[in-house]
Symmetry: C2
Subunit: 269 residues, 2 copies
């Protein structure tokens, strides 16, 4: 039995909480902290690992895990060797997806788009310095792990991220670049601030953003932004293909108009 794929190029969400907030319930923070331990895990976890990772005592971890287990948010591994996330999580996934108006509005358009495009089509939503994939329509050849709902990627070095940044002020863009932990995820990841700004500018002019192998070797992706009525960028639509089948120019010529149309259909108020 194998357990694979931890965070990898995923981005941890911002969990910098304000200490000494009179309304803040610490027990809840502990619970979520425990659940979040799995973000970095590649295998079922033991109580001690959870306690250590959460910076809490063994007793605290024990009680939290016990409680979450009763409620179904944590399970025992199939072989009873450790703890894994529980199925009740999916109930909340459903709630999130169906109550997010952007997802609801975008989905039919995405499926229509997928009909005209034999490549992977994704919807991502902005959360701080990252984009979180909310809906993914995989192409024929994709592997499962590359296309998980909830997967997240940095804004600074992705097509979707740059499409989003294209709808921000220069100051905001700079702040994102500044605060991001930039590293070369692949050899072709663009990490230089000036170069990123240039790509954002390019996206502004083209109306779409392009990224070549910045996250995954051999992957080409273009994206267009989804914006709220007041112009705030909320997320992006991605079309991703393989460089073994496409060169950048023909990929853009073929898919940029489609991606633009799709975004347009969603963005109308």
């Amino acid at each position: 039995m194998r357990y694979i794929q931890k965070a990898e190029y995923g981005v941890p969400p911002n969990t910098s909480i304000d200490e000494s907030d009179p309304l803040f319930v610490q027990a809840i923070a502990r619970a979520m902290q425990v659940l979040s331990t799995f973000h970095e895990a590649g295998k079922p976890l033991t109580l001690n690992e959870i306690a250590a990772a959460g910076g809490m005592g063994k007793s605290a971890a024990q009680r939290v895990v016990h409680t979450l287990r009763q409620l179904g948010y944590i399970d025992r591994d199939a072989d009873d060797r450790g703890y894994v996330p529980g199925i009740r999580i999916l109930d909340h996934t459903r709630d999130y997806l169906r109550m997010n108006p952007l997802v609801a509005r975008a989905s039919p358009v995405l499926m229509e788009l997928r009909r005209n495009v034999r490549e992977r089509v994704d919807l991502s939503l902005r959360d701080g310095l990252r984009l979180v994939y909310a809906a993914r329509l995989q192409s024929k050849r994709e592997t499962f792990f590359a296309t998980l709902v909830g997967q997240s990627v940095p804004i600074y070095c992705t097509s979707g991220g740059r499409a989003v940044m294209a709808h921000m002020s220069d100051a905001e863009v700079d702040e994102i670049i500044e605060r991001s932990v930039r590293r070369e995820i692949t050899p072709r990841t663009i990490t230089d601030p000036a170069a990123i700004r240039a790509k954002v500018q390019e996206a502004r002019e083209n109306g779409y953003a392009l990224a070549l192998e910045e996250i995954l070797q051999g992957e080409i992706a273009i994206a267009t932004a989804l914006v709220s009525p007041d112009g705030t960028p909320l997320g992006a639509i991605h079309i991703a293909g393989s460089l073994s089948e496409w060169d950048a120019e023909s990929f853009c010529r073929r898919f940029a108009p489609l991606a633009g149309e799709a975004a347009g259909a969603i963005n109308r108020f």
Copy 2:
């Protein structure tokens, strides 16, 4: 802006918790209770609604919501009119999906299956009296809301459920039937215990289960069970099509072998 689709035919999970458990952390239960309020909601919720639904005081709801908001598990609605589930939920979705060995093992097989089948293909996992959809490869014509990850259906009246029950003892089957709140979701939903037992027996003999419009009008579905090495049923693979294109017999003849093969490929330890 519209917010649609609440629980409907979804099944609420079993949250009957043991009172007076010395290790039970009530604050966590409260937090999850609050998040679970959205299961039944068709629109953004107010503080008072959350408090009332959770059977707690306004202050308690206030603190819980405040905390979950800080952590990103609850957001304000786009128009600042109410509370909605937050995007951090998706991080845990990803954890669940990738750390569940059955999902991991089944996914490539599912995609291969989808390649040979132009209909919807689903993977569901058992949780008590219900099946929870964990992976869904939609066909061309599906609407988004019909194919949400996290959607759940009762065991007693679905193809997947009967495929699962086929791998249980008669006593276990009876218990499921007994404990389920059986109602006619559609006019064709089978709710009579004896009739259900007969359908289970039929599934045992055929190696697959069939359901006709028991959940959704016009839908036909067949399913095969996924079992652990010791024979315990863990979930099912579904193939679902439309009665406007298929009659029961040809649907089975065409897809039963494929569903069986797929389940077989996954079940080999």
